[in-house]
């Protein structure tokens, strides 16, 4: 009867080698190591003998290099192939159920949730230029007059955790700094779209009569209130 060969479980040293190959510093204590090894699907599968060292490398490169199977196969050292063949090997590795399973779990863990996306949009929409500037008072050396100067202050932005809201940063030939924040209008539009504000049928409809009622002058409003009270009291 055919007996499936069971691959031996890798030792801590093997896994550390793998992490090193991935440029991950693994000088950590046993408890943390166990946690990393048991929660990271790639390392877990490698320790459990489900995938090879090369496949584990392939997964890491595939995830960190824009999902290019050929490049990941090349980086994972599938040697002896012509340049064009890496793509074929990479695609065949991707078809393995264990690899697909690990990839889907890794991608799900890395992907942003809708709440995270919304939070990001709202941070962009609410970005404040003053978080990137500092006002300093200077004295004119010629006249002695005090004047205010607005200066870019990226250290302040970093301290406030706002640097990720920056889209472009440029230092000019004369040393002047210019930068651009991510598009606030676009972020607002995306939030409005998420809230369904552009869907005509979902728009809040307020009867014109109610708007008229609330636009009354204080005198008219008091008269209407009196009228409502008498209508409420009346039987018909």
């Amino acid at each position: 009867m055919f007996q499936e060969a069971k691959m031996p479980e890798r030792s801590k040293r093997d896994v550390q080698d793998l992490l090193k190959a991935l440029s991950i510093n693994c000088e950590i204590d046993d408890e943390v190591f166990e946690l990393v090894a048991s929660t990271n699907p790639t390392i877990k599968a490698y320790r459990g003998g489900e995938i090879t060292f090369q496949e584990a490398l392939f997964i890491e490169y595939y995830l960190s290099n824009g999902f290019r199977a050929g490049r990941a196969a090349e980086a994972a050292n599938y040697s002896g192939l012509s340049a064009g063949a890496y793509g074929t090997v990479g695609r065949s590795v991707l078809k393995k159920p264990a690899i697909r399973d690990i990839l889907s779990r890794r991608i799900a863990a890395k992907a942003l949730t809708s709440d995270e996306i919304l939070a990001e949009w709202s941070e962009i929409a609410k970005a404040d230029m003053t978080d990137f500037m500092t006002v300093r008072e200077r004295e004119d050396p010629n006249t002695g007059a005090i004047y205010s100067m607005v200066m870019p202050d990226l250290a302040k932005a970093e301290r406030l955790g706002r640097l990720h809201l920056m889209k472009k940063f440029k230092v000019g030939a004369t040393g002047e700094i210019s930068f651009e924040l991510r598009d606030q209008d676009k972020a607002l539009e995306q939030i409005a779209r998420h809230l369904g504000m552009f869907e005509k049928d979902k728009m809040l409809t307020i009867a014109p009569g109610i708007i008229e009622l609330l636009s009354q002058s204080p005198e008219e409003r008091r008269a209407t209130l009196e009228q409502y009270e008498s209508l409420l009291e009346s039987d018909d």
Binding site: T205, I206, A207, P208, G209, I210, E212, L213, L214, P218, R221, R222, T224, L225, Y228, E229, L231, L232, S234, D235, D236
Partner: protein, 238 residues
Amino acid sequence: MLTDREEAALLLIQKERLDEEYAANPWKFFCQQVRTVDESQHITEQSRDRIYNWPRHHQYLRELLAVLQNEPLVGVPKSRRMMVSWLLSAYFVHDARYHPNSAIFYMSETEQKSAFAVDKRCRFIEEHLRDPAFRLPIKTMKTKTGLIGHITYPNDSYIWALASGGDVLRQYTATKIFVDECEFQAEAPAVVRAALPMVQNGAQLVLASSSDGPIGILAELADACGVRSYKDVRRLVA
């Protein structure tokens, strides 16, 4: 002393209270808010646009409303210009406004005739309520003839003009069906047959018509109830 904001909030609360009263008391809603139009009237100093307040002095309308509120199957043998159609239109508008997801069918001999009633009675009532704050934003759809034949309320209730026919009715589920001038509709018996299963499940069927002799469906129903003339009505009431 209330602030502007508080006064506006109070106004809305009072309006809501009135709306609640109107929901529970259709007659109060008719008397305080509904207006009618009488195209046959001469223009006078009092009414330059032929628009009149609800005729609260017609007690028979109040009595008929009580019947409508309590009976699932109602026949109304009537004569012309009694404002029965206006009462039924106002009754349906009230039902659509205050009861979500009501499906009300207005059925006349032709679609054009029923659309006339939906447009010139139901829509008119809704859009000419005495206090504009009570007017609801209704969606309307026109028939081929250009009259409004379908009114949808924000609570998804609707009033729909249909041409007479049992098969027409068989396709839909109704909350209320009004067969206007049923004695002049050849399809009226088929309509009643199609509507009865719905009535058994809680819908309301209202037949109203002026007389076309002793052979109409309403005349037969009245005959079955022992009513052949007004004398019989007086006898039964006594």
